[in-house]
Amino acid sequence: MKQFMSFVTKEFYHVLRDRKTLFILFGMPVVQILIFGFALTTEVKNSKIVVLNMAHDQSSRLLIDQIEASAYFETSRELNSFSQVEEEFKRGEIRLALVIPANFEQNMRRGEQVKLQLINDASDPNTATTLGNYMGFILADFQRMHFPTAPLPMQIVSEIKMLYNPQLKGAPNFVPGVMAMVLMLICVMMTSVAIVREKETGTMEILLVSPFKPILVIFSKAFPYLLLSLVNVSSILLLSVFVLNLPINGSLFLLYAMSTLFIITCLSIGILISVRTNSQQVAMLISLMGMLLPALLFSGFMFPIENMPIPLQVISNIVPAKWYYIIVKAVMIKGLGFMSIWKEAAILLLMTFVLLGISLKKFKIRLA
């Protein structure tokens, strides 16, 4: 135990003295969360729209105010005729135009069907759909608030119901994805590079000649990264709760337990890579190309697995990140308990045992 502690202390010195590693270790999760949170988001905020108000009554004013009050739209100006709408679109400054018909309030009160027209710039179809949905929600809200007795449906009422993510926020999707990616990168790459570095500098031989058990060499090299990764899990969770306003719905303990399991799976991959390679560059390349890329492609975080051809769907099953991604989404976003994720957890556990088994066997063979 004392031997183990001296080893772990030494490992921490290595990590803490290497500025570049430190930066990757603690800077990357923050940078990724911020990039995904604010730059690469599928949310569309502050879209410029115009309103052609033919009603000019109180209800139409209220509706426009409500639209403006949302974070998604910004009414640039009110127009007087259809020809102006087209001009605005041609200038390319607006994404959407809303046309409120004459006698809006009167017709609403009478319970007649009111036809509001939404004109979308569909040159970017995804954005157009998203904006259409946002507007649909606002209109439905408006109706519920001001004309609770009016019969449903109104002219523009979207029937789509967004489970778990009613505001169609991007964060619930990418936070688990970023967690999987960051842990994968840190545990696999850093561990394999750290172990291979000892081989390169020749210190591995010194360690193997010492009474310190080879298997302990491996574990004590991996141990600091387990702790550092847990720090990263915490920083990602803090950022997502306090910066992205994404609450943790499920058990925090379960989330940490599952993260620890995934970290151990990744560490085993890192160990396996380090046992098979002799140079830091090779270890890094394998980690990046062989591990990070599949994690990105097959976790379901960027590309939906259901839409992939069957062979790729099958391949996706051997990517640990996929299972972790499912677990984090279930626990963190949906607030589900262990009973609904035990299968995924069992798969990760099995992968860990297989990977560790192979690497320990290979490690012994190398010694002979």
Binding site: Q3, Y13, T203, L207, P211, F212, L367
Partner: protein, 245 residues
């Protein structure tokens, strides 16, 4: 005389290639034993077997009385090892390196503290104690490296080309350290390419193509091969080698 290393017909094969071919020798306690040979002669393989890093294909050997097949744990506790490549961590300070190696050899914290002060004093490294090893001159690093290798008072220390790349003066100082340690009863097993260093050894063996072709004191070998110095002895033997690097 107590024998610290005994090897009897020790061999290591890699497929068809016989790296070490039935070597037989013994080393006495407190002796400085030079293990010489050209590159590729099988020195490293032999040394790895003796350290317990590699399992022999056949033959027997004991280190400090322990069997190299069955008692590798005991062997590891009674040997020290310093390699031609660096044995120290460059991004750790002198003190941290001593603490780390003391730690993995199972020394207690008070023991490590005591040893550290002792070592820093004898090497004159008090001022550099908290500096990174990467900032130390090569010669000092090697002396430190040797001291760290014998920190846990082993019976036997393996030095694998310990003086590669240092100037003659530093090499001389390094050898003085070896003599001092040997005088206290430490057995030293050293490989080297410098023939002047071979002269410093009590006894040497010459390996050619996996076999020990000659063994004895430097004086006896010079006489046997009718050579003015060890360089000539080495040339005569190595010229007959079939294996090239």
């Amino acid at each position: 005389m107590e024998q610290v290393i005994t090897a009897h017909k020790l061999s290591k094969k890699f497929g068809d290639f016989i790296a070490t071919n039935e070597i037989t020798f013994s080393v006495n306690k407190g002796e400085i034993f030079g293990f010489l040979g050209a590159n590729g002669a099988g020195k490293t393989t032999a040394m790895r077997m003796l350290c317990g890093l590699s399992i022999p294909s056949s033959g027997e050997a004991t280190i400090a009385g322990f069997d190299i097949y069955k008692q590798t744990e005991e062997i590891k506790k009674s040997i020290g090892y310093m390699s031609q490549r660096f044995s120290l961590y460059e991004d750790l300070t002198v003190r941290e390196n001593i603490r780390f190696f003391g730690g993995i050899y199972g020394l207690s914290i008070p023991q490590i503290k005591l040893k550290t002060e002792e070592l820093l004093g004898s090497l004159g490294l008090e001022k550099e104690a908290n500096k990174l090893v990467s900032g130390l001159p090569l010669g000092w690093r090697q002396k430190l490296s040797f001291s760290v290798a014998i920190l846990h008072n082993p019976k036997l220390v393996f030095l694998d080309e310990p003086t590669g790349g240092v100037d003659p003066l530093t090499r001389r100082q390094f050898w003085n350290m070896i003599y001092e340690a040997a005088a206290k009863g430490l057995t030293v097993f050293v490989t080297t390419h410098y023939m002047d260093e071979a002269e410093y050894c009590d006894r040497i063996s010459m390996m050619v193509d996996g076999k020990i072709e000659a063994m004895g004191t430097p004086a006896a070998l010079k006489q046997q091969f009718d050579a003015p110095n060890m360089d000539h002895v080495f040339y005569q033997l190595a010229r007959g080698a079939k294996r090239k690097e």
